[in-house]
Structures are given as C-alpha cells and as structure tokens.
Symmetry: C2
Subunit: 344 residues, 2 copies
Amino acid sequence: MTTIADVARLAGVSPATVSRFFSGRPIRAEAAVRNAIDELGYSPNAIAKSLKSGRTGNVGVIIPDISDPYFASAVKGIDMESRERGYNLFLCNSDDGRERQDQALVALLGVVDGLILTPSIESGPPPASLARHACPLVLLDREFSEPVDCDTVTVDNLAGAKQAARYLVEIGHRRIGVISGPLTSTPGRLRHEGFIQGLTESSIELEDQNVFVGDFREMDGYIGMKHVLSGLPPTAVFVANNLMAIGALRACKESGLRVPSDLSFVSFDDLEVGTLLEPAITTVGRHPTQEGALAMSLLAQRLEGDSFDAPRRCVLETRLSVRDSCAAPSSGHRSPVGIPAPTA
Amino acid sequence: MTTIADVARLAGVSPATVSRFFSGRPIRAEAAVRNAIDELGYSPNAIAKSLKSGRTGNVGVIIPDISDPYFASAVKGIDMESRERGYNLFLCNSDDGRERQDQALVALLGVVDGLILTPSIESGPPPASLARHACPLVLLDREFSEPVDCDTVTVDNLAGAKQAARYLVEIGHRRIGVISGPLTSTPGRLRHEGFIQGLTESSIELEDQNVFVGDFREMDGYIGMKHVLSGLPPTAVFVANNLMAIGALRACKESGLRVPSDLSFVSFDDLEVGTLLEPAITTVGRHPTQEGALAMSLLAQRLEGDSFDAPRRCVLETRLSVRDSCAAPSSGHRSPVGIPAPTA
DNA sequence: CTGAAAGCGCTTACAG
DNA sequence: CTGAAAGCGCTTACAG
C-alpha cells in the first residue's frame, strides 16, 4: 500500500504538503502532487486519518432487524438525512440480541462519530461501552430500561394503541383479542397498556385466552393468532406490529377465516405491500422515514457542537388509517367494508 | 478518553503488558491490570488497534437498496455467516447510484478487511479506489461492466427468465408483455435476453408496445404495467424483479384487472408477503439468504489466506415456483388456477 | 513474562 | 506556502 510519504517523495515535497493538498488548502506544487497521486494510485488511509483527527465522518446505526419494514424505512430516512449532511452511514444488525448489539456497539464505537441505536428487546441498562466512549447517541423507537442521558425519537405508542381499541369498540366489538410485543420493550409494553386502557374505558376486559405476548416477529404473530383462535374466537384482533401482523394474517388465511367478515383486524405499523392485500389492513400508522430523518438530524446537531443542551425527547403522533379490514361483528353476511356499523 | 498508558500507569506495568493482556496472552500482573481497566472504564481504541495490526475484524457490504426484500434477505445470509466467523458487518446503501457507491466504498475501505458489493446499475468499470486498496472483494447479484478479478455470486438469470417464458407459452399465451430491469445491469440484461430467447424458441415475438424497461424499483413496475396495458393488453406479463412486481400488481389492481383471469403474471424473485397475496404469485425463485451466506464464506476464505486462488464464479440455479397467478388465456371465465391449459 | 523503543499512516501547531 | 517534528493509541519484534 502506498502512503503519503511515497507521494511526497515522488512529488518532491514533504508529507505535510500532500496532507494539506488533500484537506483542500492551496499548495504551490499542486500539479506535481496530483501527478504523483495519479501515478501511484494513492488514496488516503481513513484509519490513520481519523486516529489523528479524532473524526471519522461516519455515523453508525444499530437496529434489531433490517428486514422489518419499519426499520428498513427508518434507515432510509436516516440515510437520506446523513447523506445530506455529509456523513457516511454504517448499519449493523443486532438481531434483537443483547450480546450482538454490544458487539456491534464496540465495533462501531471505534469508527464512527455518532450512533443511532434501537436497543434490543431484553435491553436492560445501557452497555458499559457506551458510557466509556463519549460518543453522541440517539435512541430510536425504543429506550433502555434505565433512562439514559441522550436524545430520543419514539412515537406515542400508548395513544396509538388506545385509539385502535376505541375504534374496535366503537364499531361494536366486545370480544376482542390482542397479540402484543414483548412487555420488556417500551413499544411492546406501551402498546399493550394503551390497548387495554382503551378497552377499559368501555369496561371491556380481555379474556386470558385472547391475549398473546409475542416477540414482534412474524412467527409469533402466526402462533399468537392460532392461539387466540383456538378458543372461542374474538370478533376482532389487534396486532402490535407489522411483522406479527403478517404472521397473524397467514394464520387467518390458513384457518379459512375471512377478514373482516369473520374477524376484524387492526395492526400497529403500516404493512409494506399492505395496500395490495385483500382486504387492505387498517393500521395505527406512523412515518418511519421521518422518524429516521429526525433521529439523524438530532445526532448531527450534537456532532456539530450542541453538546451542552439537555436531552431532547421527541414523541411523534400516530394516526389510525382506516382501511378495509374491520367491520361490525356479525356472523352471517359480510358487512359493508370500511363503514363503521352502529354500536351494538 | 482513557488510553492504554493510563491503565498501565495505574496498574504499575508497561503499556505493552496491558496490550498483551488484551490479546489474551498470560501476564503476571493480571489482577492489577484488570482492576485498573475496571476502575478507569477503559476499552481499547479500535482505530489505533487496526492502524497497527492492519486488521479490523469488520466486513463491509454495499447494496443498492435495503428495502428491496431480495437484498434484505441476502444481507441476512451475509450477516449470519459473518457472525459465525467472528466478523462484524457494516452495511451501506448505495441507492443504486454510482457516486454514492463510491463514497461508501472509500469510507468502508478504511475500516474493513473485506467487502461484498452489488455494483450500482450504471456501474461502468470498477472504481479506482478498489484497485488501489488490496481489499478482498466479492460481487453479489451483479457484476461490473468490465470483468474484475474477484469472486462472484450470481444466479442463472438467463435460464430463469427463459423458463418463465417457456411456461407462459406452454400454458397457451402468445401476446406477452415484459417489464424488464435496466439493460445496463447484468441481471436486467440477462433476464431480458433470457425471456426473449424463451419466446423465440416458439417463434413468438414481443411487440414494442408490450416491452418496458424500468429501473428495478416499484414505481417503474407501476409505470411499466400502465404502459403495457395502454395498448391492446397482453394476456400475460413477466416482471423482472420483486419491487417492480409490486408496482405492477398495484397498477393491475388500479385498472381493475384480475389476475390470472384477465392477465397472467410471473415475476423474477419471490415476493415478500407473496403468499399472502390473492392470488399467490408465480415466480422465478431463488435463495437470497444462501446467496448472501455463500458470498460471505467466499470472502472469509480470501481473508484467511487463500489469496492465490483464481476467482471463483458461482452461478446458482433458479426455480420456477408455480402458484396461482397464471392461467390459460381466456376472456370469458376464470380457468382452473395453477393447472397448465393445453397449448393452443 | 516484561519493558523500552520503534512504527502503523496521517495531521497539525511551530518556525520559517 | 512549506518542512521538520511530535504525536494520535496501539502493537510487536527485540533484548532481557
């Protein structure tokens, strides 16, 4: 590998001059240096550069699962925003595991200026490596079990789930099921609680049989739905995220259950390809791309010096998108799609 | 930030000894060093480490689009395999742009030991930065316009597309449409050619009106299908990848076209959530996870010393998965799903 | 097993 | 504008 010294020698200048050339400052021997660089095929060693400068120009992102459409979109938002601000993005997958998350953290902390992190489900307290490095951090979508002194971007999970519950009640449902995410994660717990609160307002209780707590992955959506359907099936089900919704829909299909005539269906998070499905699914929607972009801009502000501000906690609104997967409870015929039936 | 020197001082040993402790070698003052590390909350600086050792333990991946289900799955395969081999994965998005790809390349080349790359569509020749660094490289899914001396993992795009064409012909279609990917990319071109070859075998020609060349993204699938439908619509359409298939299906739905009774539909790449769709889509399928894992294991072999072998070009088989989106061409009634009709 | 020393490739005050 | 020199934090032969 050729170094800055090789270039300097060939160009007849000092290494310092070559370095200055790369940092854009004017130098006298520009032509010679440029020639030497071309001839040797030289490009600067990023590692050596950042060892000295203390800056990498990179931002790290750690998320549980890239194939989760929510995270895919959020990353898209982060990516756009980081590009615009001149940062490079390094993405790592934690597979929602504490150990893998911490490994990624260690690897990234070395080579980035800042970090956006969605803590893994069994997060517990923030990893020690975070405290050691003075690396600006933004939490996205989830928080640690103990409060951390950093910026956060989440949605109002409680309100969103509550709204879903109210909607189902409003169109006449009483025997309702819920497939929740892990109660150890902030979104899992808050959506669960929010949904229950929404039912409690109307004095509706969930039967144990109709509650399933999953892990936010497709398989648990499938298992959860099978579980809920194994007893006296509810007339409506709320599924706490997109991946589990896919699994749950698969279970419905397999069981020959028609949505919404046999079962009304609401999920949290929009479904990719969701509008292609028959019926289109009613969801508690949010804007993953905007969440990601916001997280990145908060981080960028930290990186550019606002390090004395207090932590900012951004809680974005959700919105219930009523589509075609809910109807008034009725066993006989399929009720008009998307039109709330009068309350029973 | 605390350094190895701080730890050494506190433990009463030399920096070299602390360094040896971290590399797992036995040292006498182990207890003292361990205490010092804990007390100071020290963790080694990855950058400094790799500057000296020339090794990072990281592998970089550059793909066009994380939200493309194919790449999401491929990355999953890479990720699993890299974990198993003790590498950390840094993922970058090129957004299928040459410039962004090259930026990511430069950023990654500094901090990884090896690279897996899907060249952007308008790839052209391999970027200079690649040649400069002696960084092992594996190409995934696509190749550069000029051959590069490195390992490759692709699928047999030509054969796969040809098989799709034969199938459509076999079940009776004659007026057929195709929505292809960019002909500047290897998969785009080979699928296009393969499909045409498959038709030519039966002396079927594509009408210009029924050919659309898109960019592999959802929007162009939509536009392409609208285009194809704007003339005398074909009885069957082949769409060259998953994202465009989603867009194309959206266009069908919007146009009130029923699949397969009004239009038979085959796509390349399995669709995420595909089996949930009505009808389930017949596809030229492959195994993205396996492709990713293979790419990573080829790379790992290079990293572990097999640098004198000739480049290995792995071309994996595709498989036609017949589902419910194709039927014999008929305008009156819906023919039995999935059962090939006798050739006209 | 251990320490002093050189060096990985680059940058940056410091003099000029 | 430029060069000599020190140093970023760590590792690794080299002697002991």
